[in-house]
Protein backbone atom coordinates (compact mmCIF):
# COMPACT_ATOMS: atom_id res chain seq x y z
CA UNK A 1 0.00 0.00 0.00
CA UNK A 2 1.27 3.50 -0.72
CA UNK A 3 0.52 6.75 1.07
CA UNK A 4 -2.10 7.87 -1.45
CA UNK A 5 -3.98 4.56 -1.15
CA UNK A 6 -3.71 4.86 2.62
CA UNK A 7 -5.37 8.28 2.67
CA UNK A 8 -8.23 7.03 0.51
CA UNK A 9 -8.76 3.60 2.08
CA UNK A 10 -8.43 4.68 5.71
CA UNK A 11 -10.40 7.91 5.31
CA UNK A 12 -7.55 10.14 6.45
CA UNK A 13 -7.15 13.86 6.01
CA UNK A 14 -3.86 15.03 4.51
CA UNK A 15 -2.59 18.21 6.18
CA UNK A 16 0.36 18.51 3.78
CA UNK A 17 0.97 17.36 0.22
CA UNK A 18 1.04 13.56 0.11
CA UNK A 19 4.47 12.31 -0.91
CA UNK A 20 3.97 9.08 -2.87
CA UNK A 21 5.73 6.44 -0.73
CA UNK A 22 5.25 2.75 -0.12
CA UNK A 23 4.07 2.17 3.44
CA UNK A 24 6.26 -0.64 4.75
CA UNK A 25 4.53 -1.01 8.11
CA UNK A 26 3.35 0.89 11.16
CA UNK A 27 5.16 2.26 14.18
CA UNK A 28 3.17 3.64 17.11
CA UNK A 29 4.72 5.88 19.74
CA UNK A 30 4.31 9.29 21.27
CA UNK A 31 8.02 9.59 22.02
CA UNK A 32 10.53 10.95 19.54
CA UNK A 33 13.30 8.91 21.14
CA UNK A 34 11.23 5.75 20.81
CA UNK A 35 10.61 6.47 17.12
CA UNK A 36 14.30 7.17 16.54
CA UNK A 37 15.20 3.90 18.19
CA UNK A 38 12.55 1.69 16.66
CA UNK A 39 10.82 3.05 13.54
CA UNK A 40 11.91 1.63 10.21
CA UNK A 41 12.25 3.24 6.80
CA UNK A 42 8.86 3.54 5.12
CA UNK A 43 6.91 3.08 8.35
CA UNK A 44 3.76 5.06 8.97
CA UNK A 45 4.41 6.72 12.35
CA UNK A 46 1.27 7.11 14.43
CA UNK A 47 1.40 9.63 17.28
CA UNK A 48 -0.51 12.31 19.15
CA UNK A 49 2.62 14.47 19.27
CA UNK A 50 2.26 17.59 17.17
CA UNK A 51 5.38 19.58 18.11
CA UNK A 52 7.48 20.51 15.08
CA UNK A 53 10.22 18.16 16.29
CA UNK A 54 8.23 15.23 14.93
CA UNK A 55 9.40 16.39 11.48
CA UNK A 56 13.17 15.90 11.93
CA UNK A 57 12.50 12.67 13.83
CA UNK A 58 10.29 11.38 11.00
CA UNK A 59 12.88 12.49 8.48
CA UNK A 60 15.70 10.83 10.39
CA UNK A 61 13.98 7.42 10.38
CA UNK A 62 12.63 7.96 6.84
CA UNK A 63 8.99 7.51 7.83
CA UNK A 64 6.60 7.34 4.88
CA UNK A 65 4.19 9.65 6.74
CA UNK A 66 3.18 10.80 10.21
CA UNK A 67 -0.41 10.15 11.24
CA UNK A 68 -1.76 12.39 14.01
CA UNK A 69 -4.63 10.74 15.84
CA UNK A 70 -7.36 11.76 18.28
CA UNK A 71 -8.11 14.96 16.38
CA UNK A 72 -5.11 16.78 17.85
CA UNK A 73 -4.61 20.27 16.52
CA UNK A 74 -1.38 20.48 14.51
CA UNK A 75 0.46 23.83 14.70
CA UNK A 76 1.07 25.59 11.40
CA UNK A 77 4.83 25.67 12.06
CA UNK A 78 4.84 21.87 12.19
CA UNK A 79 3.03 21.71 8.85
CA UNK A 80 5.34 24.32 7.31
CA UNK A 81 8.43 22.41 8.43
CA UNK A 82 6.95 19.13 7.18
CA UNK A 83 6.23 20.66 3.76
CA UNK A 84 9.76 22.04 3.63
CA UNK A 85 11.20 18.57 4.20
CA UNK A 86 8.70 16.57 2.16
CA UNK A 87 7.18 14.83 5.18
CA UNK A 88 3.53 13.87 4.76
CA UNK A 89 1.35 14.72 7.75
CA UNK A 90 -1.95 12.84 7.94
CA UNK A 91 -4.72 13.37 10.46
CA UNK A 92 -7.72 11.59 11.89
CA UNK A 93 -10.29 12.26 14.57
CA UNK A 94 -10.20 8.61 15.57
CA UNK A 95 -8.35 7.66 18.77
CA UNK A 96 -5.08 5.79 18.23
CA UNK A 97 -6.52 2.40 19.20
CA UNK A 98 -9.39 2.61 16.74
CA UNK A 99 -7.13 3.90 13.98
CA UNK A 100 -4.72 1.03 14.48
CA UNK A 101 -7.60 -1.44 14.27
CA UNK A 102 -8.67 0.11 11.00
CA UNK A 103 -5.14 -0.03 9.57
CA UNK A 104 -4.72 -3.63 10.72
CA UNK A 105 -7.93 -4.53 8.91
CA UNK A 106 -6.45 -2.93 5.81
CA UNK A 107 -3.47 -5.26 6.07
CA UNK A 108 -0.91 -2.91 7.62
CA UNK A 109 1.21 -4.41 10.38
CA UNK A 110 4.37 -3.54 12.31
CA UNK A 111 7.49 -4.28 10.25
Amino acid sequence: MNTKDLVENAGLKALTAVEPRDVSGVFVSDMLSDAMAGAKSGNLWITVQTHKNIVPAANLVDASAVLITSGKNVPQETLDLASQHGITILWTELPTFEMIGKLYALGLVTK
Partner: protein, 180 residues
Amino acid sequence: MAECQHRWAMINQQFGFTVFEKCSHCQSVRTYFSLHDTWDEYKEGQCHWAIVENAQTFKFDLQCSNCGKVEKFDDLLGLLFCTSCIADCEVEIIRRECAKDRIFILVAFGFLPEAESQPIPERKLQILSDYFNQQRDTSRSRIKIIWFDKIKSLPLCRGEFIHDVGMFSLEAPEERKPLF
Protein backbone atom coordinates in the same frame (compact mmCIF):
# COMPACT_ATOMS: atom_id res chain seq x y z
CA MET B 1 41.58 -9.49 2.72
CA ALA B 2 38.99 -6.94 1.57
CA GLU B 3 37.98 -4.29 4.07
CA CYS B 4 34.51 -4.80 5.53
CA GLN B 5 31.76 -2.66 4.02
CA HIS B 6 30.16 -2.06 7.38
CA ARG B 7 26.41 -2.46 7.72
CA TRP B 8 25.48 -0.82 11.00
CA ALA B 9 22.74 -1.87 13.39
CA MET B 10 21.71 -0.21 16.63
CA ILE B 11 22.54 -2.18 19.79
CA ASN B 12 22.67 -1.61 23.55
CA GLN B 13 19.72 0.79 23.56
CA GLN B 14 19.26 2.31 26.98
CA PHE B 15 16.43 4.74 27.65
CA GLY B 16 16.95 7.53 30.16
CA PHE B 17 17.24 11.27 30.47
CA THR B 18 19.50 13.95 29.08
CA VAL B 19 20.03 16.53 31.80
CA PHE B 20 21.02 20.12 31.07
CA GLU B 21 22.12 22.08 34.12
CA LYS B 22 23.36 25.63 34.40
CA CYS B 23 25.30 27.48 37.09
CA SER B 24 23.72 30.75 38.15
CA HIS B 25 27.15 32.01 39.29
CA CYS B 26 29.41 31.33 36.27
CA GLN B 27 26.67 30.63 33.65
CA SER B 28 28.43 27.43 32.58
CA VAL B 29 26.34 24.59 31.17
CA ARG B 30 26.83 20.92 31.99
CA THR B 31 25.04 18.00 30.43
CA TYR B 32 24.90 14.34 31.35
CA PHE B 33 22.89 11.18 30.85
CA SER B 34 20.87 9.86 33.76
CA LEU B 35 18.80 6.72 34.11
CA HIS B 36 16.52 8.60 36.48
CA ASP B 37 14.29 11.65 36.25
CA THR B 38 16.35 14.04 38.34
CA TRP B 39 15.71 17.73 39.16
CA ASP B 40 18.29 18.19 41.94
CA GLU B 41 19.93 21.56 42.63
CA TYR B 42 23.30 21.61 44.35
CA LYS B 43 26.25 23.83 45.28
CA GLU B 44 29.82 23.10 44.26
CA GLY B 45 32.31 25.72 45.46
CA GLN B 46 30.91 29.05 44.28
CA CYS B 47 28.78 27.39 41.64
CA HIS B 48 25.07 26.77 42.12
CA TRP B 49 23.84 24.20 39.64
CA ALA B 50 20.18 23.99 38.69
CA ILE B 51 18.54 21.89 36.02
CA VAL B 52 17.38 23.74 32.92
CA GLU B 53 15.88 20.77 31.16
CA ASN B 54 15.50 17.08 31.70
CA ALA B 55 14.51 15.31 28.50
CA GLN B 56 13.79 11.69 27.77
CA THR B 57 16.19 10.18 25.32
CA PHE B 58 18.21 7.04 24.72
CA LYS B 59 21.79 5.88 24.38
CA PHE B 60 22.99 3.31 21.92
CA ASP B 61 25.98 1.78 20.20
CA LEU B 62 26.33 0.58 16.63
CA GLN B 63 27.50 -2.83 15.54
CA CYS B 64 28.43 -4.00 12.06
CA SER B 65 26.23 -6.94 11.15
CA ASN B 66 28.90 -8.18 8.71
CA CYS B 67 32.05 -8.22 10.84
CA GLY B 68 30.74 -7.66 14.38
CA LYS B 69 32.76 -4.47 14.97
CA VAL B 70 31.18 -2.30 17.69
CA GLU B 71 31.37 1.49 17.77
CA LYS B 72 30.42 2.93 21.13
CA PHE B 73 28.41 6.15 21.23
CA ASP B 74 28.34 6.76 24.96
CA ASP B 75 29.89 10.16 24.23
CA LEU B 76 26.89 11.29 22.16
CA LEU B 77 24.50 13.62 23.97
CA GLY B 78 22.02 13.93 21.13
CA LEU B 79 21.15 15.33 17.74
CA LEU B 80 19.92 18.85 17.13
CA PHE B 81 18.15 20.11 14.07
CA CYS B 82 18.83 23.57 12.72
CA THR B 83 15.95 26.04 12.79
CA SER B 84 17.82 28.60 10.63
CA CYS B 85 17.91 31.03 13.54
CA ILE B 86 21.22 32.72 12.62
CA ALA B 87 21.64 33.43 8.89
CA ASP B 88 25.46 33.47 8.92
CA CYS B 89 25.89 30.48 11.24
CA GLU B 90 28.07 27.85 9.57
CA VAL B 91 25.45 25.19 10.30
CA GLU B 92 22.79 27.21 8.49
CA ILE B 93 25.16 27.82 5.56
CA ILE B 94 25.88 24.08 5.30
CA ARG B 95 22.16 23.31 5.73
CA ARG B 96 21.18 25.60 2.84
CA GLU B 97 23.90 24.18 0.59
CA CYS B 98 23.05 20.56 1.39
CA ALA B 99 19.29 21.11 1.01
CA LYS B 100 19.84 21.59 -2.75
CA ASP B 101 20.95 17.94 -2.89
CA ARG B 102 18.22 16.79 -0.48
CA ILE B 103 20.77 16.18 2.25
CA PHE B 104 19.33 16.77 5.72
CA ILE B 105 21.76 18.19 8.29
CA LEU B 106 21.74 17.25 11.95
CA VAL B 107 24.14 18.53 14.56
CA ALA B 108 25.73 16.07 16.98
CA PHE B 109 26.48 17.13 20.54
CA GLY B 110 28.74 15.49 23.06
CA PHE B 111 28.45 16.00 26.79
CA LEU B 112 29.41 19.47 27.97
CA PRO B 113 31.87 20.77 28.93
CA GLU B 114 34.15 17.82 27.95
CA ALA B 115 32.91 17.76 24.36
CA GLU B 116 34.17 21.29 23.73
CA SER B 117 37.77 20.09 24.03
CA GLN B 118 37.23 16.42 23.12
CA PRO B 119 35.01 16.29 20.05
CA ILE B 120 33.54 13.06 18.77
CA PRO B 121 35.93 12.12 15.94
CA GLU B 122 34.79 12.82 12.39
CA ARG B 123 35.19 9.08 11.71
CA LYS B 124 32.46 8.30 14.24
CA LEU B 125 30.16 11.05 12.94
CA GLN B 126 30.53 9.49 9.50
CA ILE B 127 29.59 6.10 10.94
CA LEU B 128 26.49 7.67 12.49
CA SER B 129 25.55 9.26 9.16
CA ASP B 130 26.19 5.91 7.45
CA TYR B 131 23.92 4.15 9.93
CA PHE B 132 20.97 6.47 9.29
CA ASN B 133 21.56 6.43 5.53
CA GLN B 134 21.74 2.63 5.46
CA GLN B 135 18.27 2.54 7.04
CA ARG B 136 16.65 4.83 4.49
CA ASP B 137 15.78 5.17 0.81
CA THR B 138 18.76 7.32 -0.14
CA SER B 139 17.42 7.91 -3.64
CA ARG B 140 15.01 10.37 -1.95
CA SER B 141 17.25 12.05 0.60
CA ARG B 142 20.29 11.56 2.79
CA ILE B 143 21.40 12.43 6.33
CA LYS B 144 24.63 14.22 7.18
CA ILE B 145 25.73 14.67 10.78
CA ILE B 146 28.11 17.46 11.67
CA TRP B 147 29.76 18.50 14.95
CA PHE B 148 28.33 21.31 17.06
CA ASP B 149 31.46 23.49 16.92
CA LYS B 150 30.06 24.89 13.67
CA ILE B 151 27.28 26.63 15.60
CA LYS B 152 28.11 30.33 15.64
CA SER B 153 26.88 31.02 19.15
CA LEU B 154 25.45 28.44 21.54
CA PRO B 155 23.64 31.01 23.72
CA LEU B 156 21.92 32.41 20.61
CA CYS B 157 21.22 29.04 18.94
CA ARG B 158 17.53 28.14 18.77
CA GLY B 159 18.11 24.77 17.17
CA GLU B 160 16.10 21.99 18.77
CA PHE B 161 17.20 18.64 20.07
CA ILE B 162 15.30 15.60 18.90
CA HIS B 163 14.42 14.42 22.37
CA ASP B 164 11.27 14.29 24.50
CA VAL B 165 10.41 17.05 26.91
CA GLY B 166 7.42 17.27 29.22
CA MET B 167 6.43 13.63 28.75
CA PHE B 168 5.44 13.35 32.40
CA SER B 169 3.09 16.30 32.05
CA LEU B 170 -0.45 16.15 30.73
CA GLU B 171 0.10 19.52 29.08
CA ALA B 172 2.54 19.69 26.18
CA PRO B 173 4.96 22.63 26.48
CA GLU B 174 4.10 25.45 24.07
CA GLU B 175 7.73 26.37 23.46
CA ARG B 176 10.95 24.69 24.40
CA LYS B 177 13.30 26.49 26.77
CA PRO B 178 16.68 27.84 25.62
CA LEU B 179 19.19 25.24 26.86
CA PHE B 180 22.45 27.17 26.74
